[in-house]
Subunit: 350 residues, 4 copies
């Protein structure tokens, strides 16, 4: 008999939901027992309700599993939420109230003051928020969130620098992959030989605020945001997966490119120490090839869980500049949530 923890996926038929299903196949700690989606899909088999678009096929044992509605009553301990933000807010609260651990990729509760916006390598101590979350809201369950797909690469590169040198000001410009817009996302007619210099849904605001919470410090029962200014320009390019970001950083304490490279390349944290199943050996890989990282060649580094930083050099305006790439649907979505759940399991919080 399996002693794995039972988990479910909310929004299992969507793009993020499919990625959850793929990444949870053969997971050493979690067993995917429940698939839930909108009323439109509920009752159908997973195979019939899903326009499957992953490179690996649907796991055999899930093909004919019936999809349930997104309501408490699922037979599992953790629910991973890949719900659209138009509905995620209330549904996730309902599950948390009913005692489930909700590990969400949706943006709705990320900035709630009692909800951890968790990056296990950066702010595992923010899990302490759960206690006040449960107390204040009267929940037996809880909500934990991961950052936006464009935030994660930035914060994996900035956090080690913030810890070591302080980060004061950041200008970041992204070139984001098509899959970040969900499916079907952009029209192919719009994207052929083109770039779109705008991403809706508050993308730039997320990049400018989420890192401040993630790099913030616990102060009593609350997070004191990092004292740092970020300006983000976000662009869509014709790339399948992998968000690229050009970053210029003003540090609190001067540092050479070599020192920065050394700090990033040697960054290691709790998930590495705990050997969490989805933790990459190195959260940040530094390359010295002058034209890397590139999305097609580098996005799968560390099974898509490592950020890759290249072109670390002096910035004529600030102190340091570089390029960072991370896989938006793995480290930037489903993989991030699973790593969060693994940390909670390792800390015996589920």
């Amino acid at each position: 008999m399996s002693t794995k923890i039972k988990v479910g996926v909310l929004g299992a038929t969507g793009a993020v939901g499919q990625k959850f299903v793929t990444l949870l196949e053969d997971h050493p700690w979690f067993e995917l027992t429940e698939l839930a989606a909108s009323d439109r899909s509920a009752g159908k088999t997973y195979k019939d309700a899903t326009a499957w678009r992953q490179y690996k096929p649907i796991p055999e044992q899930l093909k004919n599993q019936a999809i349930k509605p997104c309501e408490p009553g699922l037979d599992c301990r953790i629910v991973f939420s890949g719900l659209d933000s138009s509905v995620a807010g209330e549904i996730e609260k309902g599950f948390a109230q009913a005692g489930y651990i909700v590990v969400s990729n949706s943006r709705n509760h990320r900035m709630d003051e009692d909800v951890p916006l968790l990056v296990p390598e950066v702010n595992p101590d923010h899990l302490a928020l759960i206690k006040s979350q449960q107390a204040k809201r009267g929940w037996s369950g809880a909500i934990v969130t991961n950052p936006n797909c464009s935030t994660i690469g930035l914060v994996l590169a900035l956090a080690p620098l913030h810890q070591k040198f302080g980060v004061k000001r950041v200008v970041v410009v992204t070139m984001q992959a098509l899959s970040g817009a969900g499916y079907p996302g952009h029209s192919a007619i719009d994207m052929v030989g083109n770039v779109i210099p705008f991403i809706g849904g508050g993308e730039e605001e997320k990049m400018e605020t989420e890192p401040l919470k993630i790099m913030g410090s616990m102060d009593g029962n609350a997070v004191r945001f990092a004292d740092c200014l970020i300006s983000a320009h976000t662009n869509r390019v014709s790339v399948e997966d992998g968000h690229m970001e050009c970053v210029s950083v003003e540090l609190g304490k001067k540092a050479t490119p070599d020192e920065v490279a050394h700090v990033l390349a040697n960054f290691s944290s709790l998930p590495q120490e705990l050997r969490l199943p989805s933790a990459p050996e190195r959260p940040v890989i530094v390359t010295d090839q002058r034209d890397r990282p590139q999305p097609r060649f580098d996005r799968d580094t560390g099974n898509g869980m490592s950020a890759v930083v290249g072109r670390i050099r002096e910035c004529p305006v600030f102190d340091i500049r570089f390029v960072v790439l991370s896989h938006n649907t793995i480290r930037g979505a489903a993989g991030a949530a699973i790593l969060n759940a693994e940390l909670m399991k390792a800390k015996e919080m589920v």
Copy 2:
């Protein structure tokens, strides 16, 4: 009998050379009489020596014209240089010494202290350098240059702001078109679904220094560079033509996005006043569509001679940020040089 000024093209078989030939067809002031290229091509007909890659066909009367070597002796007054930088330096000096007006797109002499790096809307007064250039070098001819294809969009957007508010610090990140790398440039295998975060040939250095000279002021016989810091990150994306640039600017004097938009949209200068044939009606077009400019839809604005600025908004780190697009092979190369020659003709310098 034509009273047009006879002109020639150096490097006529290359990508920039072909664009010169296309743009000079039916020019009201200039008559293209001479085609010159490397020894490998010299002696052949233009049609046979050229892997023609423009959308318009080779002008009928040039098809069978014999290509000459890049040596003085051409029957023309102006030579437009689209030469590769590996050879442009000496050849251009030779022509200037022999009395030709050399209007060059090559980078070799751009930063020479006695050579104008000319953008007719921005620094027409820099043409005054020619006098000292001729005196110092003992030339009867002269060399005039235009900026790099990634500099021009930036400087068309910055210069009006610099004149009005002062520009102190700039972080710019580019997404540059394939044609900027010449032909054949990048391998298609490298570019499919990919972005390359590096452009060789000192691209970033050019963007960081050329605007300072262009926005500089004449101080006696020399240019005093603008007192401004620029940090440039340059990237290659899978776009045919049109360089996009995301720009964050610290101004000397605060200004709102509306004030900035007003200054840019109303910018007009000497080429517009003189009604130079290649001058766009407006050097800068401001769009308020939230997802524009886009290379495919906007690069041909003003026949490819206008920069298009969009998404003008406050910058949390500096003062203002925006996106600017300009056509890299027209305003960023051949069109720029032709506009330079037109200005010289209007000022009776040729």
Copy 3:
């Protein structure tokens, strides 16, 4: 006062409708006075109701014109239909009954036995069907249609050969542009670095049947279909505009590649003779460059109204093979319909 014929566009906000609006701007014979679309758009201004996606801006005088519903009562003589096939059938009949000349790009009535499927260069005599159409249906107006966007290139290449040598069997494989799927059409995620070997909506059946009607001959009041077999494989590729087709043909009478090239290059017909405004100088352009036609370079040949044929060579299985390209949204849609209307005007049928 204008003596132009008043025309309207049904489905004016859609992709084909926008192309009609663009091509009818400054038309010498027709004046676009009416814009009609679905109830969702009716009542709004054209500017507000339309996600305009053409390279030229909306004609100034149409920007604030009110959109009307697709019902008779429009003040015009001809209606061009760019309606979706889900609604075109009944709406077009209603207009014909009410006395309008309906020049339709929709597929609904193409194969009706009393409706001309018209290519002015190929079967202008099929306009004779209108008489029986009106008699049989009791209409004062009429419906005339143009072929599917993938049919037209094929038939422009086959018809001259059929007239001269006879065409017995054809295998054709297409590589069709994204715009053929309408907007938004395919997801950009699906198309990046990919090919989709299927086009819905009966695309292959259309290619296999429409040419037989078009190349058929009038036999009394009906069209006797050409006696020819066609097999079509249709594919979608990541190209903005321009359908490519590789064609192998069995002829009734042997012919060399040179003879075929000669027949195609010299093909000229009634629209050329009548100098119809949208008629290209040559319906078929033959290229002998070994790697042409290519969609990006050749689709605009003859203002998008000429088909370009290349690589004419012997076929080891049949007699002749070649590649043909035609612009799917011009010659394959709106431009085709406008040419049809021009022919009717020249023949004093409107």
Copy 4:
């Protein structure tokens, strides 16, 4: 001590050579001991001489291995040749004469009457040619070849049909991936939003002749070519890897689409029986999804060694038509050669 057979790679720095190196890492039967390349590379370390472009890194133990010239004297039994056809002919003969088993992907000797053009699932009996090859040429070694990257998908689909029903006539149109042109291959400028209807190097002739030899039968010491006519149109599309082919087939004996699907799906042969390490479980996978195969989703089927056939349906002109996809750099190049070597090892010919 390893009892693996020592092998070398000729042309180890090129695109095919790199694929050999990648696929031979951890091979159960072969140990890659020798890397050879042109004089330009010889003497350098593999790492320094190679512009490595595979997704997996260079095998650690080969990084600093010295590259040798392409001359006999290599310490190995088999050489895999990824040499350019401009030099492969003589070099391969030299190795065979010196006693090496040359397993070549180059085209030079494919059509030599005493050289097997081997597809292990189709014509393993053609290995009998080696005896006459050695006798006639006085070689102790031998040359064995695999077909062109566009031939293999076609022949894997046709051969089972030929065995069962006979194949009389075939029209095939390809949409081939960029990697088929080697590196750098096409300019990215040419390919963005474009299709090129021509592939040089005799691509169409290869597709029209190689299958006849492969599907031919041994007749004494020679191959009697299959009695079948093939017409091939070849096109380049903007796809990274994976050649698509639309095929119409006239069979010797009528068969329904279902019968054809059944024959293809159940095709299995000697490599499967012998469980050769690189043999896919099924040489041909049949899909009934109406819009598959697609290069991006299906090229890696069977580790890139299976062809995927879809859209099997009746052909109005011949009998049957379908789409077939195969991975051009694996099954169409390095993987094919390795499978050939595995077959020879299993048959104790090395």
